[in-house]
């Protein structure tokens, strides 16, 4: 049978094209446009080629921010994923406490990001905050606005508080999807609790954990609001993550060109790592 060609069908995809154009392509192209030009304001632009890209890629400031970013993301992943799985395992599987646990777990996720930053800022203040006073009272020399170590400790604790719940909920969903006969068979086979975890629960959670790691990686890699409200990137530049650095450059110094170049590099890094990660995890899945 001959296919009917009707070009009017293109009209049907117009809404999508318009939508994607306005929320992705046009803004992205604007950034690309800025990234190859120099501007002194007043709508005057000069073409600069790849100058800004070279400048960003060779700048120590960018390297330092990137390193801090990796340190932050790596640390929170190492804490949140195992902790989330552990909490999910400890949660009851049925009964009235299930809803209680789920609601408690969901609470931190419902708090707006800048509020999280504000809460922790006040909570951790050494003189008046509960956490700050308690730590100092216990004999620790703790001051997150002055000491690098304290600032990082608070930053990571805040992220763990805010986002471990997401891992818990995903892992819990994965656990609940395991049919009861698996556990029954394991009991009859005499499997230890560790064996049940290693050979039933972990493999069955593989997929949701992949999603959890991916989401937490992306979110933590582009995190801005919470550390900005908590430390503002300080003390000094100690907690200046990539996004904070980017905003400083773009809005603080109004270096639109370099900031645009950095945006693109930043975006490509997130994209590349997510892609590599996802491909590896999925291939691993296949092999199993």
């Amino acid at each position: 049978m001959d296919k009917t060609w009707n070009n009017k069908a293109w009209f049907l995809v117009v809404p999508v094209i318009v939508l994607v154009a306005f929320n992705a392509i046009i803004p992205l192209m604007t950034v690309v446009n800025y990234s190859v030009q120099e501007s002194f304001g007043g709508g005057v632009f000069f073409f600069e080629g790849t100058k800004w890209f070279q400048q960003i890629l060779t700048s120590e400031r960018f390297h330092a921010a990137l390193l801090r970013q990796f340190a932050f993301t790596g640390t929170i992943l190492l804490i949140e994923i195992p902790l989330g799985v552990a909490i999910a395992l400890a949660m009851p599987r049925r009964g009235p406490w299930v809803s209680v646990c789920l609601v408690l777990m969901a609470l931190p996720l419902l708090v707006p990001w800048h509020v999280v930053g504000a809460i922790w800022n006040i909570f951790a203040l050494p003189e008046i905050g509960l956490l700050g006073r308690a730590l100092n009272g216990l004999g620790f020399d703790y001051n997150f606005t002055r000491q690098v170590g304290s600032a990082w400790f608070t930053l990571i604790l805040m992220d763990v508080w805010h986002w471990t719940s997401l891992v818990v909920l995903l892992a819990y969903a994965g656990l609940m999807a395991i049919p009861e006969p698996y556990y029954q068979a394991a009991r009859i086979d005499g499997a230890s609790q560790w064996a049940v975890f290693r050979h039933i629960q972990l493999p069955k959670m593989n997929r949701v954990l992949t999603i959890a790691v991916l989401l937490r990686f992306m979110d933590s890699f582009i995190i801005y609001t919470e550390p900005f409200v908590l430390t503002g990137g300080g003390p000094g530049n100690a907690t200046t993550l990539l996004s904070i650095d980017l905003v400083k450059m773009a809005l603080g110094q109004f270096d639109v060109g370099p900031a645009a170049a950095m945006s693109i590099i930043y975006f490509l890094i997130v994209l590349a790592i997510s892609w590599v990660f996802y491909t590896l995890m999925m291939r691993n899945e296949d092999r199993w």
Partner: protein, 361 residues
């Protein structure tokens, strides 16, 4: 080897059961003889799986005692019982190879590596899995996975009984036959006690030495497939076993006569007056109702005739009560009216669902 005795066992999933309706398994006394094959047959939700889980130890019954060879194991955990269970959905450990799957129950029990290896290879050979020992279990088909589940049961030399919970439900029909005969062969070879839960009566009847029919948490009849067919002691058994099931119609029974919708039917035996029963019925299997020529049968109107190959399935109406008849393919059946005759030796009388013994008349 084990003789499994259930003494006054009952189970309720509610913490404080009130009436009999709260029990998933009502009080039950039964001995599963060593080396026999039992089928546990009944509709969904009748308590089959609950009973199975009580035997394997996955559930501790609310009441009663479970004994293996006389030893009370009611509270013993499944791992410590010499019992294995195969589930409806094949349970395999995805990340392990076939070999590791089969070795898993032995390794968990600390069996020496050399013995484990020889057992695993032996069982794999019997189940025809030996060419796939190093494959990942997750990639296998449902029937191969179910073989692994079975293999994990057989591999343990201490296993005296294997419980099957509808193990062939998810298997393709043409493979069902293969697995079924494999299972039968293994049962003969190893001589373990086998309790096989199913709601498929063909499966139950081909497999089992004895069939246990359950209904609403109660065992209604235990018998050989033949007994269940010839002499169902409860109308439910008559209805549930057989395809189509037994014809049951309300009747007035006196002596050796039953009256159904004004028609008199002669019975082989004489019955006492059944005035005490709220509900008196006669039951006769479709195979024992005959369509006859001449004028001396019961007049019925023919509702429907289905030709199912070598047999004809006839539905007739006797004074408002529908009867199924299985007739030979050559039987001539008039379009509207016919006469039928019951095989009088095969007509049973039921009072409130339970069979009534008649005296030979």
């Amino acid at each position: 080897m084990a003789r499994i005795a259930l003494e006054n066992v009952a189970h309720s999933y509610q913490p404080a059961p009130q009436g009999p309706a709260d029990f998933a398994v009502k009080e039950l006394d039964h001995v599963w003889e060593d080396g026999s094959a039992y089928a546990l047959l009944g509709p969904s939700g009748c308590g089959k799986t609950t009973l199975l889980n009580i035997i394997s130890g996955l559930l501790v019954p609310s009441r009663g005692t479970v004994r293996f060879d006389g030893v009370d194991v009611t509270e013993t955990i499944p791992e410590r019982r010499n019992i294995a269970q195969v589930f409806q959905f094949p349970v395999v450990y995805d990340t392990m190879t076939v070999y590791d799957n089969l070795a898993f129950p032995l390794r968990n029990r600390g069996v020496a590596a050399a013995e484990t290896d020889s057992r695993v290879r032996e069982i794999a050979r019997m189940l025809e899995l030996d060419d796939r020992l190093q494959h990942r279990a997750r990639r296998l088909t449902a029937d191969a996975k179910q073989k692994i589940s079975l293999g994990r049961a057989l591999v343990r030399s201490d296993v005296a009984a294997i419980l099957f919970d509808e193990p062939l439900t998810v298997i393709d029909p043409h493979l069902k036959w293969l697995l079924r005969s494999k299972l039968k062969q293994l049962h003969h070879q190893f001589d373990f006690t086998m309790i096989y839960v199913t709601h498929d009566q063909t499966e139950a009847l081909t497999f089992a030495d004895r069939v246990v029919v359950m209904y609403e948490g109660e065992v209604v009849q235990i018998g050989t497939p033949e007994e269940l067919f010839e002499r169902p002691i409860h109308t439910f058994v008559g209805y549930f076993i057989g395809s189509p099931g037994m014809n049951v119609a309300p009747a007035a029974v006196a002596g050796n006569k039953a009256v159904v919708a004004g028609h008199e039917i002669e019975l082989d035996r004489a019955y006492p007056t059944l005035d005490g029963a709220a509900n008196v019925e006669i039951g006769v299997r479709p195979e024992y109702v005959e369509i006859c020529r001449g004028e001396d049968g019961l007049p019925v109107s023919v509702r429907r005739v289905d030709d199912i190959g070598r047999l004809k399935l006839v539905k007739v109406d006797l004074g408002g009560h529908l009867f199924n008849i299985v007739a030979g393919e050559d039987t001539e059946i008039a379009a509207t009216q016919a006469r039928i005759r019951f095989d009088r030796r095969r007509v049973h009388v039921y009072a409130d669902g339970h069979i009534v013994e008649g005296r030979a008349a």
